[in-house]
Symmetry: C2
Subunit: 323 residues, 2 copies
């Protein structure tokens, strides 16, 4: 009789997430959970907003990056960490490396917005520019890793990153009195969503996990419907943090633990974003508003329920608001 | 030998504030206190941001309004409450009255922005329009009170309102581990500032109380310098919550308990506001950014200190941002 080697992220192994949380606590914010009377009335439900837009670097990505960096063995950590990203993971990895006192090497397309390049440099990371193609990105990263001995930290398809992201939902469950019926996150590469699945299975097993996804980048929705991983092609959405495809590690967890993925339109994303800004006084990026858009879309089904919503980030260019 | 009759808001009488807090807790948010690594580095100090922009109706005003409404005797409360305001106090009083199940009558100039009128009506209050003059405002309010028997709740020159506003600083002292050296608020009519003085004397006596004030509406600064109440004339500032003069009740407390008032320019207000939006992901109105502008201006003196800053509100028209 054969037994499969259990994944270290097996849902029956909450110690991984507990250890991750313990490891990163000194380097992250325990972000607040807010409620809005108006949102409660609008939904006919009790809604708890977990504000990862108020996390360090303005996104939940700090959790996974910090766990990945501080999980490395001393000898490896010293050589630093590397990634390719022009988004929140780049800033998060740069800051986590700085807090650990080790170098960070960030590969960015030379077309990346200057403000994002500046933010990563501000955290003390070395930026290596490449042509804006997948091939150039990967070959440049390989060169950097070969040259420096740095460890590649994938933005989401990495078990330490996933375990770090799981701590957002773990905190949410701790902060809310009584069980939640549903918890919603956005889904792009799936790091936050897969982490939330694991946290729910470990710490709040009765809670269902749903995700919101832009209809213009709905690979996770299509994958869950087809029962197999379907990569994203030609995404088109204002939610620029959710353009990527799932990875094999995140897909495995998501396919087993997510009850449904709700595609939302651009208009629904912008309306949810506006609600968060105007009524809840939170600066939230379009990607961060996606799970609220999904909850509002499904408010009929969610009526009378207790709902947690993880707002993933708040990094947005104030001069380019959609309202 | 004569003894003066002690004011119920005497700083030696913390029970008033404790009772106010107990009374309003079911109707307000215990708003989070946030820290920012970047702000700490910028200031060279430990800074704690008390987020009253995340309070109900988007401003600390909910505290004072709730305390005033729920302090009324049953017979008076039933007849409702009235005020003249087109700002945050109007919305706060409307919501507090709704939560108490009693009517609210809000006198507003017929020139008030439609969005503010709509917000007050949304809370179920009756709006009574008047000509946009001080005389019309007061005579209209008198008529309303005579007609309805409602109790007039002044926006700041009212002891129950001041006791309610004091609970913001009381919470801040409870939420921060260890004593603060300085706490800063904005100052307009002085309700939040005088409440903060009382809370500091009662619960954190070593903490100095400072305020930021727009240079274009610096009656409190001028009054403190002259040692007598000097009313505001022709205010001119983007911080539209801070246009009014101090009242005699707020002035008495402020003149005895505020160490300094720091006037800040429009540019400094906007820069502080931008920092709060961009870096801390908080939607803050110009008035709410004033104490941060003051702290940044005085960062030389504040170096190495532990500083609390009360962000007063977040009600701002997204289509009219100064950046």
């Amino acid at each position: 009789m054969q037994t499969e080697k259990p994944s270290p992220l097996n849902p029956l192994n909450p110690e991984i997430i507990i250890a991750a949380h313990q490891r990163i606590k000194p380097y992250i914010h325990r972000t607040p959970v807010l409620q809005s009377r108006q949102l409660g009335e609008l939904m006919g439900a009790e809604v708890f907003i977990k504000c990862e837009n108020l996390q360090k670097v303005g996104a939940f990505k700090m959790r996974g990056a910090a766990n990945a960096v501080f999980s490395l063995k001393e000898a490896d950590r010293k050589k630093g960490v590397a990634t390719h990203s022009s988004g929140n993971h780049a800033q998060a990895l740069a800051l986590a490396a700085r807090l650990a006192g080790v170098p960070a090497y960030i590969v960015m397309p030379k077309t990346a917005p200057k403000v994002k390049v500046a933010a990563v440099k501000e955290y003390g990371a070395e930026v290596i520019f490449c042509e804006p193609t997948l091939q150039a990105r990967e070959s440049t990263l390989e060169e950097v890793v070969a040259r420096t001995g740095a460890t590649f930290i994938h933005p989401y398809n990495n078990e330490q990153v996933i375990a770090g992201q799981a701590t957002a939902a773990k905190e949410l469950f701790e902060q809310v009195e009584g069980p939640l019926d549903v918890v919603l996150t956005p889904v792009g590469g799936g790091g936050l969503l897969s982490g939330t699945v694991l946290a729910a299975r470990c710490f709040s097993p009765a809670t269902k996990v749903w995700a919101g996804e832009p209809a213009g980048a709905d690979d996770a929705y299509q994958s869950l419907k087809a029962g197999k991983l379907i990569p994203q092609s030609a995404p088109n959405t204002i939610a620029d943090g959710l353009l990527t495809s799932l990875g094999d590690k995140t897909w495995t967890i998501i396919s087993q633990g997510v009850e449904q993925i709700i595609p939302v339109t651009e208009e629904e994303i912008i309306a949810a974003m506006r609600f968060l800004w105007e009524r809840m006084k939170l600066v939230v990026e379009p990607s961060g508003a996606v799970p609220l858009a999904a909850a509002l879309k499904e408010k009929g089904v969610l009526k009378g329920k207790r709902i947690g919503i993880i707002i993933s980030g708040g990094n947005v260019d104030l001069s380019k608001l959609p309202f």
